[in-house]
């Protein structure tokens, strides 16, 4: 068993913490640091990110030295489908309107859990978009059109 597979869970979370810490560390240099007495906008992120990197390093070290849990399966496909669906909804809800956006999202989300059965999916899409339209557009008056400019709304 080599050192990379000994504790992949801690190894990866350590790397994630390190990466996040490094990101904030690098960009906190764009803001004025100030002093502890008169903190600038960069002060807090600077020291927080150093703390985060230290913790990331500790977790990483533990991941290299100690035995630990194994990684589960990565649900890449499911994750992608769900997130793409949310993005599509976000971009479509204004130009295309609430009803088509919800319908498309339901269809998209259905692909995350195959087999895709067209009839239940169609029924869900119709019912859910009707529900969303009733509750959010009619009932609560949120500023989304039922059908957007793409459909002449």
């Amino acid at each position: 068993m080599n050192f990379l597979t000994r504790n992949p869970k801690d190894l990866l979370s350590g790397l994630l913490f390190l990466a996040a810490g490094l990101f904030f560390f690098v960009y906190s240099h764009e803001y004025q640091l100030g002093t502890a007495r008169r903190m600038g906008p960069g002060y807090f992120p600077y020291f927080l990110s150093i703390g985060l990197m230290i913790i990331g390093g500790l977790v990483l070290a533990r991941g290299l030295l100690r035995e630990g849990g194994e990684l589960g399966r990565f649900a890449w496909k499911e994750l992608t489908v769900i997130i793409v669906g949310i993005l599509l909804f976000a971009f479509l809800v204004r130009p295309a309107g609430m009803v088509p956006a919800v319908m498309l999202y339901v269809v998209c989300a259905a692909f995350a859990y195959p087999p895709v059965r067209p009839i239940p999916v169609a029924i869900t899409a119709v019912l859910l978009s009707a529900f969303c339209w009733l509750v959010f557009v009619r009932g609560l008056g949120l500023p989304f059109p039922a059908f957007g400019t793409w459909f002449g709304g």
Partner: protein, 327 residues
């Protein structure tokens, strides 16, 4: 006792069939909308505000109070059933409530949340009414140092509460703080980590973060292990808690009410802090500490949150209802 005189006048004005009916409608609407994932009490009030415009001021206030309580309680339903807390104070409800739902005890969890919320909400409102002048004086003496200590307490509590690796909990706290820095800096006005994206100037909202971390995370996790995803689809049964359940929740509800009433006075810190504090105390006092998650029909935290509800709404209720209604 001027307090009781005041209360009697208040009850005299509020206890008409009409006002109670408006209250019922408000609670019903508030719960219905609060149940929708991601819509907390504040958003619900904001959206339902227009329907109270047509009412006389007293009825409108009563209805808004109903909406607020209903929405706050509705949030616990999504937290329990699908692990998506609608606001930060119901995060704690999600911790154990969702585990209960997975164990097939969703009904008991929902009922416990309702009973606890009702009891603590009622008691806390009475307490606040009785001690309001005194409490206001204490709250006003809270300065930056006290708030700082409270925040540290909250952060420490959330580390203590975390199950699993302490180090990772600490890391997530730091990461959360860093994410909270995104947006305009309150002191200097400099926009931090926004990269010119206008939408980020206000920071990342709690609901959005919770939706991503809990909601999407939960969905993907369920998809990974399709055989386990039954909490959502299983029928909710056994809504009435058993006698034994009731006996077990008495003490936690009382403790939660006390903690909530004490911490709820403080402006700002509010429901979230009270919920976390009460939960950590329950976690410590619960008889089988290691089996807390499964053994507890214990009345966690939810009831302490109502306390703050009792106090927070007045400020947000008064301003909007006062101005637009004077035609």
């Amino acid at each position: 006792m001027e307090v009781f005189d005041g209360l009697i006048i208040g009850f005299g004005a509020a206890l008409s069939w009409q006002n109670l009916f408006y209250c019922l409608i408000g609670v019903l609407l508030g719960t219905l909308i609060g149940v929708l994932p991601g819509l907390g009490p504040v958003a619900t009030i904001a959206m339902l505000l227009p329907i109270t415009f047509a009412l006389p001021p007293l009825a409108a206030l009563i209805m808004l109070a109903g909406i607020f309580y209903g929405a706050q309680y509705g949030g616990s339903t999504t937290a329990i059933l699908i692990n998506v807390p609608g606001e930060s104070s119901s995060v704690v409800t999600a911790l154990d409530g969702y585990k209960m739902a997975r164990a097939g005890r969703a009904g008991a969890a929902l009922a416990t949340a309702a009973i606890g919320s009702f009891f603590a909400g009622t008691i806390a409102t009475l307490l606040v009414a009785a001690f309001a002048p005194l409490l206001a004086r204490i709250a006003l003496q809270f300065g930056p140092a006290e708030y700082f200590s409270l925040m540290v307490l909250g952060l420490v509590a959330s580390i203590v509460l975390a199950s699993g690796s302490l180090l990772k909990a600490l890391g997530m706290i730091l990461l959360g703080l860093l994410l909270g820095l995104i947006g305009q800096d309150v002191n200097s006005g400099v926009p931090r980590f926004t990269f010119g994206v206008r939408e980020l100037f206000d920071g990342i909202g709690f609901v959005i973060l919770a939706m991503g971390m809990f909601g999407v995370g939960e969905i993907v996790k369920n998809l990974e292990n399709p055989e386990q995803r039954d909490a959502l689809t299983r029928k909710v049964t056994g809504l009435m808690p058993s006698k034994e359940d009731l006996k077990r929740i008495v003490a936690p509800v009382l403790r939660g009410t006390a903690i909530g009433s004490a911490l709820g006075i403080l402006p700002g810190g509010g429901a979230t802090l009270a919920a976390f504090a009460a939960y950590s105390i329950e976690k410590k006092t619960s008889k089988p500490p290691e089996g807390f998650a499964t053994a507890r029909s214990r009345a966690w935290r939810r009831r302490k949150a109502p306390t703050t509800r009792a106090r927070r709404p007045p400020s947000c209720r008064c301003s909007p209802s006062a101005s637009p209604r004077t035609p």
